[in-house]
Amino acid sequence: MKRQGIAEALRDGIAEEMTRDASVFCIGEDIGVPGGWGGAFTVTLGLAEKFPGRIIDTPIAELGFTGMAVGAAMMGMRPIADMQYGDFLFLASDQLINNAAKMRYMSGGTIKVPMVMRAPIGATGRGSQHAQSMERYFTGVPGLKVIAVSNAYDAKGMLKAAVRDDNPVMIFEHKLLYGSKGARAEPGAVDATSEIPEGDYVVPLNRAAVRREGRHVTILGWLLMAHFAMSAAEQLAAEGIEAEVIDVRSLSPIDYETIGASIRKTGRVVIVEEGPKTGGVAAEIAAGIMENCSDSLMAPVVRVASPDVPVPFAPILENAYRPDVPRIVAAARRLAQS
């Protein structure tokens, strides 16, 4: 066992998969430049030396290199594409949505696209265009799997599962959770380290994780919000409210089995999402809960999300934008007492 952050765990996971399978390679911007950063958040630091010719630095051409990853995957390679900031996925979305996601279907089930797209998201003092919560734009695309990793153990295990999966998998990571060091460290970072076991392991791509058990209210979150939900649950416990916290983790498909089991126990659910409330993943989960376990609900579903505005720059505004622990506590308390 060793204690690692998400960046280190991902780096080890990528290295292990590249060692195991010669068809695995990385492609993206600034990921293997000698003397560079190893990607914007140090995930691929040092891998170019270890795997010559398999950490491919591209021009600044998100649409182009994403399409190349799709094409290479169709020909038997297993690319791990690195989107420097999730916001740039809009540039790449034609290749992801029109090609990667549909190729198997359009071909009558003959083509496989075993590619991984990693992308960092989250409001982190960078204003509106390096900050958006991008997962919502891909969870409704048939043919894509979408996951969000909130700790180092999951990051490594789900990355490995994604690399071995025969379908396109999008992995969302949060800039405040990487534990990047040196010049790439993030102010306001949250501890997402885990004990990482020696040897190979995978974490399935379709299961939510119960992070804390409770009987009065269920709080659902992912990425940074899963951590805030845990802090909120501690505060609620001091008031005698036992919150069950679930890290949704798999955003497409959504694990209604785990979520439903919790709601059958608590009868109440708060869904926390960083990103604007309208059209978010929380809306989808709320609808799914109504379809899957509305009989168990003792009160309407509650959402805590960002307001419908672009991500602001000023720290005071950004803090007002992003759901925080007090807002989650207040929503859960109100719900538990309803």
């Binding site: 068809s23 390679f25 010719g53 398999r54 491919i56 591209t58 021009p59 051409a61 649409l63 182009g64 290199f65 994403t66 399409g67 190349m68 990853a69 799709v70 094409g71 290479a72 995957a73 169709m74 020909m75 038997g76 390679m77 034609d94 290749q95 029109n98 090609n99 190729m103 198997r104 279907y105 359009m106 071909s107 009558g108 089930g109 003959t110 083509i111 496989k112 696209v113 075993p114 048939p142 043919g143 799997k145 025969d166 379908n167």
Partner: protein, 322 residues
């Protein structure tokens, strides 16, 4: 058959492929307008030499990517008339089980990716396939078909640049038929010589008479050889003309009469037929025989496709994930 521009049988094969594409497209147009065939159509009458010339230069395990106008590419790369007609009729026996249709015709076993119907969307894909071949140290090449309209897309520039810096084995085949949908090419580019783009990315491009199948074949053979020896990519601009509408019932009122007549006089099949007749071992009866054989093949194919089994509704949700 080994490409040999002096061999009678090889030349007649090329001729037959071109006639097959023309007759296939004409029949598809009839079936569509008649209302027998569902969907929409984008056809390539007049452009037969580009598809046939390029694909004749490729090996069976080389790949092509195509566009929404892909019937000719598919037939040239070796897809069968039956699997294509079945696909057009939405049958489960079609090359994509009825899930692709006219715009996504393809068959990986024959070396054709389903057509990419987003303009220029196949170019990054083809570059990525070529990257895979290079990393796997395989000798294959990819021929990537796209139209003149695709050159204005960012995807073209991004992919072509990366293909150039990594010397990828991809033949970039621009079928310049002078119109992006209804818009004439000189309205959307200051320099309408598309092959010039290659030089700005540091590789070789050439403009070729795309209605001369042997000229296309020779250019594609040169390009394939360069790609296989690590000197790719190559941009081929094949000058040609679409004799039919962009899609569906388009009557081409935007194509000036004189221009149409000029290009019709350069029809690739008529030209190649006349060229063949100059040989003392090809007769008018040989060419008529080709046409009769092709017509019979299509007639039989259509009859079978009309009664081919449709997918069951249960198949709707299959083939989303591997």
């Amino acid at each position: 058959m080994k490409p040999d521009p002096l061999n009678r049988d090889f030349l007649l094969k090329l001729y037959e492929k071109m006639v097959l594409i023309r007759e296939f497209e004409e029949r598809v147009k009839f079936l569509f307008l008649e209302g027998t065939m569902p969907g929409t159509i984008h056809q390539c009458q007049g452009q037969e030499a580009t598809a046939v010339g390029v694909c004749a230069a490729l090996a069976a395990d080389d790949f092509i990517t195509s566009t929404f106008r892909g019937h000719g590419h598919a037939l040239a790369k070796g897809l069968g008339v039956q699997e294509m007609l079945d696909e057009l009729f939405g049958a489960r026996t079609g090359c994509c089980k009825g899930k692709g249709g006219s715009m996504h015709m393809g068959n990986m076993d024959k070396g054709m990716v389903p057509g990419i119907a987003i303009v220029a969307g196949g170019i990054p894909l083809a570059a990525g396939m070529a990257l895979a071949f290079k990393m796997q140290q395989k000798p294959q090449v990819v021929a990537c078909f796209f139209g003149d309209g695709a050159v204005a897309e960012g995807a073209f520039h991004e992919a072509v640049n990366m293909a150039a810096i990594w010397a990828l084995p991809v033949i970039l085949v621009c079928e310049n038929n002078h119109y992006g949908a209804s818009t004439r090419v000189d309205k959307v580019m200051k320099n309408p010589r598309i092959s010039d783009r290659a030089a700005s990315y540091g590789f070789r491009g050439e403009t070729v008479d795309g209605n001369d199948v042997l000229a296309v074949l020779a250019a594609a053979q040169r390009a394939a050889e360069e790609c296989r020896s690590g000197q790719g990519p190559v941009l081929l601009e094949l000058m040609t003309y679409r004799r039919t509408g962009h899609s569906r019932r388009d009557a081409c009122h935007y194509q000036p009469k004189e221009e149409r007549e000029l290009w019709f006089s350069r029809d690739p099949i008529e030209r190649f037929g006349a060229q063949l007749m100059e040989r003392n071992d090809v007769t008018a009866a040989d060419l008529a025989g080709v046409k009769a054989r092709v017509e019979q093949q299509i007639n039989e194919g259509v009859e079978r496709a009309k009664v081919a089994p449709q997918p069951t509704v249960a198949e709707l949700t299959e083939d989303v994930f591997a």
